[in-house]
């Protein structure tokens, strides 16, 4: 802050101008990033246009099937019927605009995707029967958010809390035993999930092996919630076991490094109570990395969810994406990736702003 008491308003104005400039720069950069990422996905999901060849063959055979099965066309001659098939297929090709080169259409896909106009699914439909990709995704989103949101919040707060405690008791038996457990996190959640299913669903059948609610779903809200909770316990436990120790380990290390900083030593030397030191001298300056990792974890675990959702048969976005890829349902694949890209971009953007607010050292426009 170079602004003297005489010109605080000018300093504020300059800050705001810099903030706006910075924000718009970041927004443009992020937008371009999303654009490239989504375009790459479109290329991959269409196999560089090869999916279209498959689709053409498919259209041909479906149309031929329809015409042959329709009693209205039974008395047509073979040639007439073939012409009809040809014509119908042509309509379909034009409707899907498969007659245009892939590059042209890929740009179309891109701008539609960016506008979140996700189009209609080719094979899949939502549980209510809608063909719009938007509805298919929206229907699955709550399941994923519920499970992974709960798990991540649980892991995050437990680990930060325990890590703070452990960093104070550095070298104690408790500390060492928790650290010794850290290598167990080498295995991902689904791995523990398999064991949990084995134990709690087959050896001691107390919990369901998969799914989100009982079939058929219970009528009352309370029963529904209870059933949901029972189904959530195992996947939650699996994720918790697989991430909690590594999380505690890394936070403990992080806090240890920060609690050996000079200003913390100084506060200790002054004789401040340890609770105050913890809150004001350790937690406050480390808040921005904590929040970063929190936000990135929320997003990051999403992509690992495919297998866990598969193992537990959880009807979330991961399962959806896997099914979509299996059905070669390109609009659904692209739709999910677009949503993911946007989520990540928004997170990164919010983080940038949060940093500026939280940490006076990371000032707008300062440094590179």
């Amino acid at each position: 802050m170079t602004g003297t008491a005489a010109a605080p308003a000018r300093g504020l104005l300059r800050d705001i101008r810099q903030l706006v400039l910075f924000t718009s720069k970041r927004l443009i950069a992020l937008f371009l990033t999303v654009l490239v990422g989504v375009y790459l996905t479109i290329l991959i999901a269409n196999m560089g246009g090869q999916v279209d060849e498959l689709r053409l063959v498919q259209i041909q055979s479906t149309v031929a099937e329809q015409v042959r099965a329709d009693p209205a066309f039974f008395d047509m001659s073979l040639q007439e019927r073939n012409e009809l098939i040809e014509r119908q297929a042509q309509f379909e090709v034009e409707r899907l605009r498969l007659d245009q080169p892939f590059i042209v259409r890929s740009v179309d896909y891109l701008q539609q995707a960016i506008r979140l106009d996700l189009g209609r699914a080719e094979h899949m439909h939502s549980d209510r029967g809608a063909r719009e990709v938007y509805w298919i995704i929206v229907e699955r989103l709550p399941a994923t958010l519920l499970l992974f949101g709960t798990a991540n919040l649980l892991v995050f707060f437990t680990s930060v809390f325990i890590a703070l405690g452990l960093s104070r008791r550095y070298g104690s038996a408790l500390d060492r035993s928790v650290i010794a457990l850290a290598p167990t996190s080498a295995a991902p959640g689904w791995f523990y999930g398999i064991f949990l299913i084995l134990i709690f669903a087959f050896l001691i059948p107390v919990l369901p092996a998969g799914g989100m609610v009982d079939v058929p779903p219970p009528e009352g809200t309370l029963e529904y919630a209870a059933s949901l909770l029972r189904h959530m316990l195992l996947p939650l436990a699996a994720m918790f076991i697989s991430t909690i120790f590594i999380s505690i380990y890394s936070w403990r290390t992080f806090f240890l490094i920060h609690s050996s900083e000079d200003y913390v030593e100084m506060a200790r030397a002054k004789g401040l109570p340890s609770r105050l030191i913890e809150q004001r001298y350790i937690l406050r300056p480390t808040l921005s990395p904590i929040i970063t990792s929190f936000a990135l974890m929320l997003i990051g675990l999403w992509s690992g969810a495919i297998i866990l959702e598969q193992v537990f048969n959880w009807p979330g976005l991961g399962t959806l994406l896997f099914q979509a890829i299996g059905h070669r349902d390109t609009p659904v694949i692209i739709g999910t990736v677009v949503i993911f890209a946007y989520l990540l971009a928004i997170t990164v953007f919010l983080l940038d702003i949060l940093y500026a607010m939280l940490d006076p050292r990371v000032r707008v426009g300062a440094g590179r």
Binding site: A29, I179, A186, A209
Partner: protein, 443 residues
């Protein structure tokens, strides 16, 4: 090199590092042993399944599992006509052959299946054979007769007529103690399957193998295709190690080199690298891999390539960049420039070695995550279709509902190996972290 050697010497003070090293050494040793004893081609051949495994039982559990549970389940017995006292009785234009296939059966439980494999050599006229089953207490069952082709497989267990006559599936009915209870028990003693054959040529021969399939097999058990799981468990080790190691080396080294180049050249090179990284972070790794696996190829080497390609511009680049930026300004770099070192030399010989020690722990802890990634892909059904791996075994188990049917060994043994590998590398990695991370060492 000296700081690395120094660090390795310190490693001996950490018991977890030693345990980790021990595990890794054992795995590498077994992997070498496996590759030498079962060559690659043979492993693929075996894993394809089929005729090779016809003498093996279906879904047999490992022997030691049964012993621990205190059970006494039968093992597979193969009774060959080559060891039997064959009787030849020649007559005009042929001979009468009598092959008694005798064996002892000493279990309370029943075998899982009963098959007879017959091979005969003849020029024109097929031999004719009649089968009689004799139990230890002297009862006889006529199993019927038939003409033989050159290779014949008689599935006694699937003989519906016999099943109706016995009132039970043949491999239970033929061994059951007489006096039908609800829960039958096998009668121990010497059983005999007598083959009475007539061959119509002087040179014609008949060979028979009676297979009494057990319910336990070997150290690893078998799967639904009769394949010995040991093949997959053993071959899973070199595959997992190779995949994990190559992926970890490939991603960390290239990432480091690119980050260093970006820092050194700066300007647009750095900008391009940073933007590429951001795009790559937006692309979720697993869905892209699933896409590649479903749409293009599930070959493990293609997957490895994609993993490395996507791993190059990972978040690690940002971390290394932050570490390298201060090094760039270091006086010794300036000295190197002063004596006229080229750009490549500065990047490769002066910048990268400076942060190499920091890289080693990350690299070691990365290996298990790639090992598990391979298993994850296989679990999704995107494993290499020809290669026997742990993930493939677990995927087979999953699709055959192994847990539901109680074939726990099928899931647990590959899982245990995965966990062992993961733990070995993770333990070593965490110890290395404490050695090489100077800030942790200071405390």
């Amino acid at each position: 090199m000296r700081p690395i050697l120094e660090g390795l010497r310190q490693l001996a003070r950490y018991p977890s590092a030693l345990v980790g090293l021990l595990i890794i050494a054992a795995l590498v040793g077994t992997a070498v042993f496996t590759v030498v004893t079962i060559p690659y081609g043979q492993a693929l051949e075996l894993w394809r399944g089929g005729e090779v495994w016809r003498m093996h039982p279906v879904n047999a559990r490992p022997v030691w599992v049964d012993r621990i549970a205190g059970g006494d389940l039968p093992r597979t017995q193969v009774i060959s006509s080559r060891d039997a006292a064959t009787d030849h009785e020649p007559f005009e234009g042929g001979s009468r052959v009598r092959i008694p296939l005798e064996f002892d059966y000493a279990h309370k439980g029943f075998p899982s299946e009963l098959n007879l494999f017959l091979t005969s050599e003849f020029a024109e006229r097929e031999p004719f054979v009649r089968l009689t089953w004799e139990t230890p207490d002297g009862r006889e069952f006529i199993l019927g007769g038939r003409r033989l082709a050159r290779d014949e497989r008689i599935s006694i267990s699937q003989d519906w007529g016999l099943e109706r006559r016995l009132g039970r599936v043949p491999h239970v009915g033929l061994f059951a103690e007489p006096g039908a209870e609800d829960v039958p028990e096998a009668l121990p003693g010497r059983y005999r399957l007598v083959l009475d054959a007539i061959v119509f040529e002087e040179q014609a021969t008949i060979d028979a193998d009676l297979v009494v399939y057990g319910r336990v097999h070997g150290l690893a058990g078998t799967d639904h295709q009769r394949r010995d799981l040991m093949v997959a468990l053993l071959w899973g080790i070199p595959v997992a190690l190779a995949f994990g190691l190559l992926a970890a080396v490939g991603t960390t080294v290239t990432t480091l080199v690119i980050a260093a180049a970006g820092v050194w050249y700066g300007g647009w090179v750095d900008a391009v690298i940073q933007r590429l990284t951001e795009v790559n972070i937006i692309l979720p790794l697993l869905p892209v891999l699933v896409m590649v696996g479903t749409l293009y190829s599930t070959s493990i080497w293609v997957m490895l390539g994609v993993v490395i390609a996507l791993g190059i511009f990972s978040a690690g680049i940002k971390m290394y960049r932050a570490m390298l930026l201060p090094i760039r300004e270091a006086p010794y770099i300036e000295a190197a420039r002063a004596y006229g070192a080229g750009n490549a030399r500065i990047v490769l010989r002066y910048m990268i070695p400076r942060i190499l020690p920091v890289l080693i722990p990350t690299f070691v802890t990365l290996i298990p995550s790639f090992v598990f990634l391979e298993a994850s892909l296989a679990l999704l059904g995107l494993g290499d279709p020809v290669l026997p791996t742990w993930g493939k075994v677990m995927n087979d188990a999953q699709t055959q509902s192994a847990l539901y049917h109680g074939f726990y060994y099928w899931v647990l043994s590959p899982a245990a190996l995965l966990m062992l590998t993961g733990l070995g590398f993770a333990m070593l990695g965490f110890a290395l972290d404490r050695v090489f991370n100077p800030r942790l060492r200071a405390m």
